[in-house]
Symmetry: C3
């Protein structure tokens, strides 16, 4: 029924899809999760070209297996930074030809590939989308990770049902490396879009991109949710329904890892542990996009504990991506 409902549409960030479009995809994802066998032929003979400027396990597996389960095929294509910039083939030529062969193109490109120039990797994805006549799906750039966001909101809905009035805590945690902001950006955008009461928790210096914050504030106006920013762990965890933890680097020192580290190590005790989870609601869920550094980002007790839904969340990547693929690929 919903198959092909968004034919030809790119997925660069959920923010550029209407809420109704996202709802349609989530409905389809729920159905394909329940009745996978009914969709086993939908993309028969169709090919997804997956460009990985950075290696991947979960994203690659969930896309490749998703295509297989829909009767299609996904091609793992490692790319390197030599594909971009002087002396390489133009993105126009690459994208135009790929669109003659494949039925969709998905791209992963982290900040390091484009020299830690915030937004530049996103621009590469958009340049592919500009020239390719087939849908382009963002598998995580330096700004967004829309498929993670879809899996996240699907998981919250499954576990919590009603979203209105639920406290969604998005918490910065420590990690030895300055990770990209794509996941927290996307989690913030989707949570505010769906009417959750969002608390964004991070130490000073780890503010998210102001453009993202601006969109988040606009989202709550439309969705009826709320947004609060704090650096108080106790206040943030208090009464939370959803505890979503993620490490990210400081934008102030973007591409400047030595100085960034001096700031970040001051907060190396920002670990999600059992005591903090005690402050949340009894039936709170603990979420993380994985991979997780155990006993650094969160303790084993939390990760393996009763609150944790991390494997369900990871599984939902498969289902939402199948729904996206079925919605945007021409059949």
């Amino acid at each position: 029924m919903l198959i092909g409902c968004l034919e030809g549409k790119d997925l660069i960030t959920t923010q550029e899809w209407r809420v109704e479009e996202i709802e349609e995809v989530l409905k389809l994802a729920a159905d394909v999760k329940k009745h996978p066998e009914e969709y086993s032929d939908v993309l028969s003979g169709r090919s997804l070209i997956m460009l990985f400027f950075n290696p991947s396990t979960r994203t690659r597996l969930s896309f490749e297996i998703g295509m297989t389960q829909l009767g299609g095929h996904a091609i793992y294509m490692p790319a390197d930074s030599g594909w971009i910039g002087k002396g390489s083939e133009s993105i126009k030529d690459t994208a135009s030809v790929m669109a003659r062969y494949g039925d969709a193109i998905s791209i992963r490109i982290f900040p390091n590939v484009t020299g830690w120039n915030y937004g530049e990797s996103n621009r590469v994805v958009r340049e592919f989308a500009r020239w390719a006549d087939v849908p382009v799906i963002n598998m995580e750039c330096d700004m967004f990770h829309p498929c993670q966001a879809l899996a996240d909101i699907m998981t919250v809905k499954e576990k919590k049902g009603r979203l209105n009035g639920r406290k969604f805590l998005l918490s910065w945690v420590y990690h030895p490396k300055p990770l990209p902001c794509s996941v927290p950006n996307s989690a913030l955008l989707i949570a505010t879009r769906f009417g959750l009461d969002v608390t964004l928790l991070h130490p000073k210096g780890f503010e998210l991109d102001e453009q993202i914050m601006e969109w988040a504030r606009r989202n709550i106006e439309e969705s009826g949710g709320s947004l609060e920013v704090t650096d108080s762990l106790e206040e943030a965890y208090d009464g939370a329904d959803i505890v979503y933890v993620k490490a990210w680097g400081s934008l102030k020192y973007y591409g400047n890892p030595q100085e960034e580290k001096r700031l970040r190590v001051k907060f190396r005790d920002w670990t999600c542990n059992e005591e903090l989870m005690e402050l949340a609601r009894k039936d709170a869920i603990f979420m993380h996009c994985l991979p997780i550094r155990r006993n650094v980002e969160a303790t084993d007790g939390v990760i393996d504990g009763a609150h944790s839904v991390i494997y369900d969340e990871a599984e939902n990547r498969l289902h939402v991506q199948k729904a996206v693929l079925m919605s945007v690929i021409s059949t």
Copy 2:
């Protein structure tokens, strides 16, 4: 109807196929391009083993997606020079076992893998073909690129209909690297085979292999075409119906890049530009096998202009390869 018509046949160079065989494949390619859905099951359960001694985008994608669209599967197998020569497994053993598993083997191997010894990479492909009991397809060696040649002649036929009396210009252009001769060799052989009036344009010192020239001269005797060699740009472009540009290195300094460069840089203004295209016919087509170095091999104005058919040419790789696969693989 034509499926399996060349069962078991290797494709090392089009020169070793009869014109009627090539015509059959081109007919099948045209039909699979028009009615892809009618061929969606032809190679169901069949596997193509793709050995890439050198990385590839277009060739890999078009073969892998081609197999998928025919209901089969292609395996991307990166190989390295350690596969060849002392201390490695014999090609006899490798090829014999692969033929027990796969239904066809395709190979890409550039001159650098075999030490810039002209013809040696071709010998490796032939050694695989000798021992493998399944068809072996050349995905470009140091001498030939037969699938490109098939896509090229398919494109010329689509755009020009009648070939007799058409002026086909094969023009050397500048490129910062000494590229292999496989594409110009193959373009020359297929164009002379199909009765075109071929003009081969290159600066002195960039002569093609004498064996190839010999075959080309024999081809025109049989096909009724003609062959002229010149180093005059004006003369060559004048009245051309097809302008096919390609960079290649000088065979005189093969494997000797420093000396070769000294010769090549003298011709760094050999770029296909709008002024030259003005000399060609109004309805001339501009062809290139891609990837193209923009504003070096040809200007943006030409590449993106009205004459250019480069994306159609690239797309035809998919269709001719599907036709080859269906013709030679046992079903």
Copy 3:
């Protein structure tokens, strides 16, 4: 009929499967070899995740093509040692998530990945099996290569029919590198399990793991075969029905290649040649798991001679693996 007969079962070593289970798989392998088309849909929509900590040709091709021929799909996932140990994702998390996506996981991990600590690579495979809710198949660790063992016994049965009373010679041969013991371990275990009269031939210092020897001795008690160990080439080859040659490194100097080499080079004339084969039975078969170093492990005369069944043996990898996949994967 036998499809799914061992649903959910891991294959770490054949030693942990009952003889009846192995017999079922071999029966299925024989049938799928004879009537492949009857099984072309059995694993439709199913995905095998293949983790390769070490590169592979034969194993990768036979698994990937096997899945294709059964209507499913196999994913080639190169892994590196960074996946194991401090700072990496826990195997619990990796395996748990993979089991949410794929229908089976297969793993190749050689001793070098885990620091030449005998048994440690096997422990990694077992750790994956512990956490993955889907079957885990060992594609060769530092101790076992069960799929090779299954292909080996299938080949012996095909060529010899009755196994009781047949002399199976497992002979060490020279190789310039200290190769792992997984293949000889597995060959010894399967041969003693199936009632063959096994002669294990190696120079002093190349004894196999005592635990393996212990299992082998227990096997012959149950199977009615016999086991003899010798360092006499003449005695060992005399009257052999099956000559199975393989190079392996000395466990005494495991992870100590310089010292190991000093011992090993003393036996660099331990090559299987025509004179030795003369001592075996006229209808003896020559086996090797491949790749083989020609004229080092065995002479061309033997490898290409009338006794050699190496390509049939390699082909049987495909059939036994298809049988294993159909037996253990939930359909």
